[in-house]
């Protein structure tokens, strides 16, 4: 921190000189303590110097502090003007997959991709969204620019503190990172790692695999937190701030997905999708003008990525919510049929559903092989990487990847369910699986069997 302070340009020599007077004083006393001077002599020497010392002390100290204050005020740079960091891990992975050992993408394409991303989505301080030109388009309702502006930028308040800005940096960025890459400053100290939104995958939701979560799903996770993880609950967050943060999370996820698709296209076609795109888009005006061009050209590959690939998935999610049938009698622990239904569930757990493959039971060991989640598998399955040998993926760590960590299947003997502890939540976890993890969707089970499993899962902590 103090080294960083030096960047502000204050005069180090003056500060040293200012505080040096204390050093002189302490030297005198130390000499006394070590016997080089008698104690009385040392005190006498000090008292004869008192008046000049006092003047020097006051003058130098005040001068030093004044200078320090002024130079800090004048010289430091505010923390604005940030750019989203590029997804270097994705680029590295794609290059390893598609290019030869010593080949890599021309750096001019990297600048172009950064320019396109800034044009489409703005910056962490000035967000934008590639809304289509057509006002009636369903994509227009995905996020509100007002909400993005409330969440983006540095933390601030306006209107006598009644309107807060910079909500994402205030509540989320230390864990999830500025770009939603799950690599914020504290990420390495958390297990599981904070979610990387850029894959567009979310664990606890009411929609099937490969369908993004609804707004209500995101609100629920933010409002109630996730037990046993670093994800806090925000019980006191006002609804408007919650809505703004939900929109910003969607924005970061969509931005991350678009960037990944863009890198994929660019590395596959050696930069062809970027033909005709200027290399520099460094002002908000040029970015906005360019964004309008990009979103209004239906033939451009970028338009394809946006309007045929990424955004439709987000628009369709509300229609894809999984219906939860009425639970039969016996699912809740106080139902008379609970034990018999749980017994059926146990048979399924050990047999047809094969839950025992990962989740241990007393007296039954899991048979599961080593597993990682999708956020790790996404890059560790790159050719040449051996997760046991750090030397093979050091380059990825330097690019921003977090070290691989093994998954730990839930301990079902504890009544703790991260995605919600109602029977409905357990039904959805079993029915749809958990996105991004080895927990599969149960395509071979009917509703009765799923409810029986729910009853068994509920019965386990009671034994």
């Amino acid at each position: 921190m103090f080294v960083e302070s030096l960047k502000c340009g204050f005069n180090v020599a003056e500060v040293v000189k200012t505080f040096g007077i204390f050093v002189i004083d302490s030297k005198l006393l130390t000499s006394s303590a070590t016997g080089k001077l008698s104690h009385d002599k040392a005190l006498a020497m000090q008292s004869t110097k008192t008046m000049t010392f006092k003047k020097k002390l006051i003058r130098k100290f005040c001068a030093g502090l004044g200078m320090l204050s002024l130079l800090i005020a004048a010289g430091c740079r505010p923390s604005t003007g940030l750019e989203f960091p590029a997804n270097e891990v994705e680029l590295l992975k794609l290059q390893r997959h598609k290019y030869g050992p010593n080949e890599e993408l021309d750096s001019k394409y990297k600048d172009q991709v950064a320019g396109v991303m800034a044009a489409l989505f703005g910056t962490p301080d000035e967000p934008a969204f590639p809304f289509p030109a057509n006002d009636a388009s369903p994509f227009r309702a995905l996020v509100s620019l007002g909400n993005l502006n409330a969440s983006a930028g540095p933390v601030a308040s306006v209107k006598d503190g009644k309107e807060n800005l910079g909500l994402y940096r205030k509540h989320c960025a230390n864990c999830h990172g500025l770009a939603g890459d799950g690599a914020g400053p504290v990420a390495l100290t958390l297990n599981p790692y904070p979610r990387d939104f850029r894959l567009g995958k979310f664990k606890f939701k009411s929609t099937p695999l490969r369908v993004p979560p609804t707004d209500e799903d995101l609100v629920r996770v933010i409002r109630h937190g996730i037990p046993g993880t670093g994800m806090p609950a925000f019980p006191n967050m006002p609804p408007d701030e919650m809505e703004a943060i939900v929109d910003y999370v969607k924005y970061l996820a969509i931005r991350g997905e678009v960037e990944r698709r863009l890198w994929d296209e660019v590395t596959s076609l050696a930069g062809e999708p970027l033909a005709g795109i200027p290399g520099s888009l460094d002002t908000a005006q040029t970015r906005e003008a360019f964004r309008k061009v990009l979103v209004s050209d239906p033939t451009s590959p970028i338009s394809d990525i946006l309007f045929d690939d990424v955004l439709p998935r987000w628009v369709e999610r509300d229609a894809r919510v999984s219906a939860v049938p009425t639970a039969p009698a016996g699912v809740e622990p106080n139902d008379a049929e609970f034990n018999s239904l749980a017994g059926v569930g146990k048979e399924l757990f050990l047999g047809k559903a094969n839950c025992i493959q990962c989740h241990e039971l007393p007296g039954h060991s899991a048979t599961q092989a080593v597993n990682y989640d999708d956020w790790t598998n996404d890059w560790v399955k790159t050719p040449g990487i051996d997760v046991e040998d750090k030397r093979t993926f050091r380059e990825f760590l330097k690019a921003g990847a977090l070290p691989p960590r093994l998954l730990r299947p839930r301990n079902l003997t504890l009544p703790v369910y991260r995605g919600g502890d109602e029977s409905r939540d357990l039904y959805l976890r079993i029915k749809n699986g958990i996105e991004g993890t080895p927990m599969p969707s149960s395509v071979s089970l009917n509703d009765e069997e799923i409810w029986a499993l729910v009853a068994f899962v509920r019965s386990m902590p009671l034994k």
């Binding site: 308040s157 509540h171 990420a187 390495l188 046993g228 806090p232 009544p415």
Partner: protein, 327 residues
């Protein structure tokens, strides 16, 4: 020049310094609340508050307004109160301690209050985490200096050090002074580390933070063990006025380490290797709740209390061993 012994003792500088110490400690706690609740930018302007002169900002809007505004504006008002006490201290010290270096010390305190206020203002105007960090470190340093002033201007110091009538110097030993000074310094280093952890910037690499955490934990363990060892080492120091701060420290250091662990859990949850215990597996971090806010802030404030007790101990011991300071 007046000799120390010829000065008639006046309690007013000490009384005002004590008030300044109390206000400073409340100010440190309020500053801690500001950081814990991320309310540092709740008021965008400085020295004004939403365009009003700081002192004329409507009471109702402040007291019954949003929490962030309440904390941040309250912190500023407390800061000005500390400034007023610092000015009073300079005036009274000049009148009551002429011919000593005490007025110079009072001026240093006033200069530090002004510097600290300026840092707080610049932190808001530039929205700069580095300055926030510096602001968070200068506060406790200032508090420790005020405590030192309280000790030097106290009746105990007068009787035992200045007039030299107190017994017990022979029990102290210079080795103890070296240890006490080292532990005082280490406590301050620990406070700086804590400040760095609290003011982490969003662009900081995730690889840096764990190193800071481990260093903070290592220094905490070292300080706790060393404090207990020092308490044992100085067990025969009773009756000298030096013992009670060490007794308190031996308890407070344990409370502080416990608060540190609670702070971690309240901010980041239990370590994953405890998740086969229900209490850890079911724990949900209660972000920005009063419970979290007070516990995390208490950890920060306890750090300053530790600095205070070490300062009392060291300044008194230095006085007994090396003669009166600033006379």
């Amino acid at each position: 020049m007046n000799q120390p012994n010829s000065l008639s003792f006046c309690r007013w500088p000490n009384r005002i310094a004590r008030w300044l110490a109390v206000v400073s400690y409340v100010l440190i706690f309020a500053g801690g609340l500001v950081t814990t609740t991320a309310a540092g930018m709740a008021v965008p302007d400085w020295p004004n508050t939403y365009g009003y002169n700081m002192f004329l900002y409507p009471f109702y809007d402040w007291f019954f307004g949003p929490w962030d505004l309440f904390v941040e504006h309250g912190h500023r008002l407390l800061g000005t109160l500390a400034g007023i006490f610092a000015i009073l201290l300079v005036i009274v010290t000049f009148r009551k301690f002429p011919g000593t270096r005490m007025p110079a010390f009072a001026i240093v305190l006033l200069a530090l209050v002004i510097f600290q206020g300026t840092l707080g203002g610049v932190r808001v105007l530039r929205d700069d985490r580095t300055i926030a960090n510096l602001h968070g470190v200068v506060g406790p340093a200032f508090f420790a200096l005020v405590v030192a002033f309280c000790v030097i201007s106290s009746r105990w110091y007068r009787r035992n050090v200045v007039e030299g009538s107190g017994a017990g110097a022979e029990q102290v030993g210079t080795g103890n002074l070296t240890w006490a000074q080292t532990l005082l310094g280490l406590s301050f280093v620990q406070l700086v580390l804590g400040s760095l952890l609290r003011h982490i910037d969003v662009m900081t690499s995730p690889r840096g933070f764990p190193h800071l955490v481990y260093t903070h934990i290592a220094v905490a363990v070292l300080l706790m063990l060393a404090t207990w060892w020092y308490w044992w080492r100085t067990r025969r120091m009773s009756g000298t006025g030096l013992r009670w701060p060490v007794n308190l420290l031996s308890i407070v250091i344990f409370v502080q380490v416990a608060l540190g662990l609670i702070t971690w859990v309240m901010k980041y949850g239990f370590p994953w290797w405890l998740d086969h215990y229900l209490v850890a597996a079911s724990f949900v971090i209660p972000d920005k709740t009063m419970q979290q806010t007070l516990l995390v802030t208490a950890h920060m404030a306890m750090g300053s209390a530790i600095l205070c007790f070490w300062t009392v101990h060291v300044v008194r011991m230095r006085g007994l061993l090396k003669g009166p300071a600033l006379q």
